[in-house]
Assembly symmetry: C2
Homo-oligomer: 253 residues x 2
């Protein structure tokens, strides 16, 4: 039982209007790699945001009173604080160098996922406006071009509440159900399993991140083979939402 | 750039006194697989606890007042509540079906990592007493028998504060530094990287969990090849502690 992850080299610097599916297929072609049925593609959110022109010109922002206050508390620039506010539903915690919020997508993470890396000075990339839609577009184009059923995960690198270090995390999904529901399954002794819901999509994003981070040059796309994800596949309309804990069940906010 | 994960089949049901390193090497032999320099082995904590005889006989526990109170609040048995208390430094949050605590190892997780799956009725397995020591013993024996440098990660499946579903998580480490410190590295535009610390050991545990969970029979050990972990390798004495966020930096407790 094997899982193979291939970091796809040769992805060019992505510009607004580029089609991510085409870029991926071209890069695979150059490596003589083919898409197979059941492959999972993990795509770093930065290139998706850039292709969608979802870039913030920090100089264009007028920081609010709240942004100035958050800037003071965190040492972030007022413009970045303003960008974080405008990408968020709710500011949850503010620390010496971070702002934890619920993003407009519903994710609880630091700095609303806004990234100042991998873009020109003065610019920043927020998460894609709707990462599930971004994932679906990539999936549909790849399926149309190759005739294969695939899953696409848009990933971000996010911190955790109680552990140091960030890990790859799924923020957009198409083609696979993100949770593997194991309720009713039995263990080796015929007893109910303790862990009944495994966030397979997050595990795939974390696995891909090992290769993305390992590259000296950017590896924003990883192809994963051997995932028996049809077990988790519910419908073509599957998305990231089952991974978001509803606020009413969140005991830490 | 590739990462290959192999779920090792044929691991027998582990009993107290079994040597995990020997069991792994025998199972690899049976598959004609060899250990190579730089391999990472991810081992599920349940088999480690069982081999160490670290099993709780629930009937032998006398529930305290606090255990009775937690049992009432959570619907867990008073004995399991008592076991969770005795494995914890601090009870942090109690919900309708969970108790979140800081374990005696320092991990913040649900039910102190005590598992009632994969053992006989009336028994439960806590985490290993010192998972770093467990990892080191497995690593040293495997290195001695094979002459190869490896890393060993003891993994558990744990929930997250703000996301649904559990994922594989590192609870014991030997042979690799768990965080990859990227401070000072530059992005494609020559700017400082946004994410400066990546929890590679947790990403490896998450990746291995995909195969562990996918098996109809238990796959408690996964061999990972292609991790450029020497980048994260600091000393032979590396352990899991850098992944634990100190309480003073924990803004959610």
């Amino acid at each position: 039982m094997e899982l193979n992850l291939i970091g796809i080299p040769g992805i060019p610097i992505v510009k607004e209007g580029n089609n991510i599916a085409d870029i991926i297929l071209d890069a695979l072609d150059a490596e003589n790699l083919e898409i197979n049925d059941g492959d999972v593609l993990v795509v770093a959110e930065t290139i998706v945001s850039k292709s969608e022109g979802n870039i913030i010109d920090l100089k264009s922002l007028k920081p609010s009173e709240l942004a100035l206050e958050l800037s003071e508390k965190t040492g972030k620039t007022p413009e970045i604080a303003e960008a974080i506010i405008s990408e968020s539903n709710e500011i949850i915690k503010v620390g010496p160098d971070f702002i934890i919020s619920e993003t407009k997508h519903g994710f609880v993470c630091a700095n609303a996922g806004i990234d100042e890396s991998n873009v020109d000075e003065g610019l920043a990339t927020p998460m894609p406006a709707d990462p599930d839609v971004s994932a679906r577009k990539v999936r549909e184009k790849i399926e149309k071009m190759t005739g294969c059923k695939v899953a696409v995960i848009i990933s971000d690198t996010q911190g955790r509440a109680f552990r140091e270090g960030a890990i790859g995390t799924a923020i957009g999904i198409s083609g696979m159900f993100p949770l593997w529901d194991r309720r009713g399954e039995k263990d080796l002794y015929g007893r109910e399993l303790e862990t009944t819901s495994v966030a397979v999509a997050d595990e795939l994003a974390a696995a891909a991140s090992i290769l993305m981070g390992q590259a000296d040059e950017g590896i924003p796309v990883v192809l994963i083979r051997g995932v028996d994800y049809f077990k988790t596949l519910k419908t073509d309309s599957a998305n990231v939402k089952p991974l978001i804990r509803p606020k009413k069940y969140d005991v830490f906010r």
